[in-house]
């Protein structure tokens, strides 16, 4: 095979791999150099609409993402694993709430910082939480009274 052909193949493969890398790393958010961070779990009475990969925010700034959502069958609450970036310490009295971006936007977890000096250990449980706002129930209350 001629050298020109090899060059064309090389160009093709390089461009293809660059595009694939852009998709996986930039858009797919694949952690290339290992995932530096820690996981805490939050217990919610309901996380309706939340899905894994949703962002975790403090003051509107993304500090991590939801890594897993599972049901605790002992008391039927939702346990949500939050992967928090390294360098973002959380105090033990933080409050986690499920919020919606916009009226019909995606659900995300908003963390309200606490005031305690003690920091949250990796793997510990946040019990002070606020479940997803049930918009339909709220509208029902307004329409049919009861507010």
């Amino acid at each position: 095979m001629s050298a020109a052909k090899n060059t064309v193949i090389g160009v093709f493969v390089v461009i293809g791999l660059l595009c694939l890398a852009y998709l996986t790393i930039k858009l797919g958010r694949m952690e290339v150099l290992g995932d530096n961070g820690y996981t805490v779990t939050a217990r919610f009475s309901s996380v309706a609409g939340l899905r894994t990969g949703a962002s975790v925010e403090i003051a509107g700034v993304s500090i991590g993402r939801v890594s897993a959502i599972r049901l605790d069958t002992s008391d039927y609450t939702a346990h949500v694993d939050l992967r928090i970036n390294e360098g973002v310490p959380l105090s033990e009295d933080v409050m986690a709430s499920v919020k919606t971006s916009g009226l019909i936007g995606d659900k995300y977890i908003a963390i309200t910082p606490g005031g305690s000096e003690t920091l949250l250990e990796p793997g510990s449980l946040i019990t002070d939480t606020e479940p997803a706002l049930d918009l339909e129930a709220l509208i029902g209350k307004v329409v049919f009274g009861g507010v």
Binding site: M1, G16, L20, L23, G28
Partner: protein, 257 residues
């Protein structure tokens, strides 16, 4: 009764033969000699030579998607969702399917014609006489190289399509580019990219199997002899590839979603 049973049996026969053909194509990976060079050659034929056309249709797919989605979503004032809509449409559906159909039309038809001509001019029998396995010689390099070329072309398609959407929605229609790109980044997950590559790989196997099989069996066609058979084989290879791609796309999507 026979009029019904015979075609059904023939069809089943054909499907079985094609499955065995595919299996043999992969099995010959371990028996074929000087495989890397042949694979590289096919990466050039299937991948590098298709790159320009993929760039072109990727760009225009993105452009038209951006245009359509912008007008559809401005009805609800939801232009901010345009980026995520466009990127998810491209990554999950358009890029793998259109790339596969385009390669089936470009490289697949050439493949069928090439192998078909080899068949009707007895070159494949000559290979057998020389104790060279024709499947290992003709099909295996194409199968392996397509598994490299299809996912790469699909990702090129996606990235160019996202750029095309940026051109039409942001540059021409004035959507905020920050909203466009943050919409894309917030909605695309690694699962989508993996699904995209999986689809591309499955379509690669489908296109190569169908196109090689049709060419390989050009001499057994009932609708023509010689050159006519090669022409008909090429037509049915492209048509069958496209139909199977879209059918497989439905099945894959229902598994991936």
């Amino acid at each position: 009764m026979n009029e019904i049973i015979t075609p059904v049996l023939n069809l089943l026969n054909r499907m079985g033969e094609m499955a065995l053909f595919l299996f043999e194509g992969f099995r010959q990976t371990w028996h074929s000699r000087r495989l890397p060079g042949k694979v590289l050659r096919q990466v050039y034929v299937i991948g590098a030579k298709s790159m320009f056309v993929i760039l072109l249709i990727g760009l225009f797919t993105g452009l038209v998607l951006g245009l359509q989605a912008f007008y559809a979503m401005s009805m609800f004032g939801a232009q901010g969702m345009l980026g995520s809509l466009l990127a998810l449409t491209l990554i999950r559906e358009m890029a793998p399917v259109l790339t596969a159909i385009m390669i089936a039309a470009r490289a697949g038809s050439a493949m069928t014609a090439e192998i078909g001509v080899m068949r009707i001019s007895d070159q494949i029998d000559a290979l057998e006489v020389m104790d060279i396995n024709p499947v290992g010689y003709l099909v295996t390099p194409r199968l392996l190289s397509s598994l490299v070329a299809f996912p790469l072309l699909t990702s090129i398609f996606t990235v160019v399509g996202i750029f095309g959407g940026y051109l039409s929605a942001c540059v021409l229609l004035g959507l905020n580019e920050g909203r466009y790109f943050s919409g894309i980044e917030s909605s695309v997950t690694l699962d989508d990219v993996q699904g995209c590559c999986l689809k591309a790989a499955v379509f690669a196997v489908i296109v190569i199997t169908v196109c090689c099989f049709q060419g390989y069996n050009a001499h057994r066609r009932s609708d023509g002899k010689g050159a006519e058979a090669v022409g008909n084989a090429t037509t049915s290879a492209v048509v069958m590839s496209c139909v199977l791609i879209l059918m497989a796309d439905y099945v894959l999507t229902s598994f991936l979603l």
